[in-house]
């Protein structure tokens, strides 16, 4: 079974009007697939990830449907979503350091959490212990307070907790951004192992770091200014991207071995558009080196090859 999202729109309410943060997302994630959701700040990836599990006070559901394993997910209804959260859809938040109650021992916190969900802690405990061991933590971690653990350890603990009831969809929101390079690798590899062990069916990994996605994700979905830009298998995105934004993004990433003196990298001039009153047509138009007349019309997100979709007239239009 899988996740299907169709024309999802979620806006933010502000005093100045609605910010069109997520404006029409259509994609799907298959079972056993880890999809990376990449983009820069303001592109809507966090809005997308958060909307699938919990719309907070400022977010406004405008339209679109979400289907998980054949069942419609009522993201607009906070109470109805309660049945889905933690069991079918789960999230690993960005700052796991702050996700655990600092005044509770970890074991007690897990027990309370499970019991509030109507689960029997005693029956789940053996599985919990197995997973704690799997991620490289010691058994006695349940008797500790969160403050006694390092950042990476806390992150892994939260990962175990979020996936305890084997959710169908796991949303990982920038889980490696606040970590050191060596812990990043451990956490990213742990994430993949969860999928390999069957603890989660599909995963959405939200990050701005394309290189982490290269190491962990099967497919990558690139977003820009609230719209989808390109979706393809990882290697295709990294090596044969078609959307001008994706291409520019990848060529602006410094790598170990590349020196300023030998190959000067180039960024993308300008900045993303205001989403309070977004420009018509393709939102990348103002910064795109390949923009031409047709771009004043919004390009649809279409499939140009099996598993490869792009929203760009240059790629999919009649002039391609």
């Amino acid at each position: 079974m899988s996740l299907q999202v169709s024309d999802l729109r979620v806006y933010y309410r502000t005093l100045a009007g609605d910010v069109q943060a997520l404006d029409g997302a259509t994609f799907s994630i298959e079972d056993k697939e880890i999809m990376g959701l990449a983009g820069e700040s303001g592109c809507g990836k966090s809005t997308l990830g958060n909307s699938l599990i919990r719309l907070d006070g400022r977010m406004r559901y405008v339209g679109g449907t979400v289907t998980l394993d054949g069942t419609s997910v009522p993201i607009w209804d906070d109470d109805a979503m309660n049945a889905f959260r933690f069991r079918d859809v789960s999230v690993i938040p960005q700052y796991a350091m702050s996700a655990m109650n600092p005044t509770r021992k970890i074991g007690k916190m897990i027990q309370e959490l499970l019991e509030s969900r109507g689960e029997n802690f005693a029956s789940i405990k053996p599985e919990l212990m197995r997973r704690i061991d799997l991620v490289g933590l010691k058994e006695d971690v349940l008797a500790r307070y969160p403050i006694e653990l390092s950042g990476g350890m806390k992150q892994r603990m939260v990962m175990v907790l979020s996936t305890l009831l084997n959710p169908s969809l796991l949303i990982a929101d920038e889980i490696t951004s606040a970590l050191d390079v060596s812990t990043q690798r451990a956490v990213a590899e742990t994430l993949v192992s969860f999928r390999d062990h069957g603890f989660v069916k599909s995963m959405m990994v939200i990050t701005h770091d394309l290189s982490i996605l290269y190491q962990t994700a099967d497919t990558i979905l690139v977003m820009y200014a609230g719209k989808l830009a390109e979706k393809a298998p990882t290697t295709t995105i990294i090596e044969h991207a078609r959307h001008p934004y994706t291409q520019a993004l990848i060529s602006s990433l410094p790598e170990v071995g590349v020196r300023y003196t030998s190959k000067k990298l180039v960024g993308i001039p300008g900045s993303p558009p205001q989403l309070l009153d977004p420009p018509s047509g393709c939102r990348f138009r103002a910064r795109c080196p390949l923009a031409f007349a047709k771009c004043v019309e919004e390009p649809p997100f279409v499939q140009i090859a099996p598993d490869h979709s792009v929203a760009c007239w240059k790629v999919s239009g009649p002039n391609a």
């Binding site: 820069e40 060596s182 602006s252 170990v256 960024g267």
Partner: protein, 320 residues
């Protein structure tokens, strides 16, 4: 130009200040004109503390920092201002570097009132314009705006422009890229490269090895306040000797190679696998008992302009 000599910083911690925490220990390196030195380390490595000591925001406990022949610790009172003409800093969070209730260009008027109070207004405005253009900013776009109206990249470049209005010789860039979007990072990074060619010395503090590799001539790798490896960037990255350096390099997520491949490559090239340094296995910043010359790892010359901090190696025990 800037020379650190066995710089040490200790803090008093614990109840009644009984214990000592050694944040930086016996660090020595130089920053010359027209050169970028990367100070690379994970969290807790002391790299920010070193930056702040160079900027005189934190006091040095032992050792000395010498800038153009003058001992930095001995500068007091009105001489501090003249020091700041030559040495400036830019910090990690662009939005925190600006007082949020004032306009962004107030940073210029601060400089003006302290350093250039006799300069007539029109001449001052010309200077500001010139400084902004030299960092590729359009004065019309960034003057007279509040910080939240500008992007992170613009704010960082504005801070560099501010520093350039003085008679800058050394710039301490403390993680100035990490909070910026991927597409704007390169612009700021290239700006640093440009400054380097104008004769500035830059201390580039970062946790991101690929950035350090891209921009710097020399690299210093820190772990828990101690230098583990330093020297010419190509040599440190191409021929890493210290086990910690190897772990760091192999943990960096690369864009075209999987982690497993990077590790295998490194093993084949450098010989031994990334293991744990015997000294660092037991080294804790608080359990430093004595700090006589025998206690710290000696900096051993591996090849020209490439040093490794290794106790065992220096004594001929460890066969790195």
């Amino acid at each position: 130009m800037l020379s650190l000599n066995r710089v040490t910083k200790t803090y008093r911690v614990g109840t009644f200040g009984g214990k000592e925490l050694v944040a930086v220990r016996d660090v020595s390196f130089d920053v010359n004109e027209g050169e970028v030195v990367s100070l690379i380390g994970e969290s807790g490595s002391g790299k920010t503390t070193i930056g702040k000591m160079v900027l005189k925001l934190v006091e040095i406990t032992r050792g000395s920092i010498v800038c153009d022949g003058a001992d930095v610790a001995g500068i007091h009172g009105s001489e501090v201002k003249s020091y700041y003409r030559h040495v400036q800093g830019v910090f990690q969070d662009p939005f925190s570097s600006y007082n949020p209730i004032f306009k962004a260009d107030r940073v210029f008027s601060l400089i003006r009132s302290e350093f250039f109070s006799e300069v007539p207004t029109s001449e001052w405005n010309d200077k500001v314009d010139a400084a902004l253009r030299s960092v590729n900013l359009d004065p019309g776009q960034v003057m007279n705006k509040y910080p939240h109206q500008l992007s992170g990249g613009q704010l960082q470049r504005l801070l560099v422009a501010r520093a350039l209005m003085l008679d800058l010789k050394i710039l301490v860039a403390d993680e100035i890229i990490s909070m910026l979007d991927a597409s704007t990072r390169i612009d700021v990074l290239n700006l640093l490269g440009d400054l380097k060619s104008r004769g500035l010395g830059i201390l580039f503090i970062t946790h991101d090895l690929s950035l350090g590799n891209y921009i710097s001539e020399k690299t210093v790798i820190l772990r828990r306040g101690v230098v583990v490896e330093m020297g010419d960037t190509d040599k440190v990255f191409g021929n890493p000797k210290h086990p910690y350096t190897k772990i760091l390099i192999s943990s960096v997520p690369q864009l075209h190679k999987k982690w497993a491949d990077v590790e295998a490559e490194m093993e084949a090239r450098v010989g031994s696998e990334a293991g744990v340094c015997l000294y660092h296995k037991t080294y804790r910043p608080t359990n430093v008992v004595s700090d006589g010359p025998d206690d710290r790892p000696a900096m051993v010359k591996v090849e020209d302009d490439h040093y490794v901090g290794c106790f065992e190696l220096g004594h001929g025990i460890c066969q790195l």
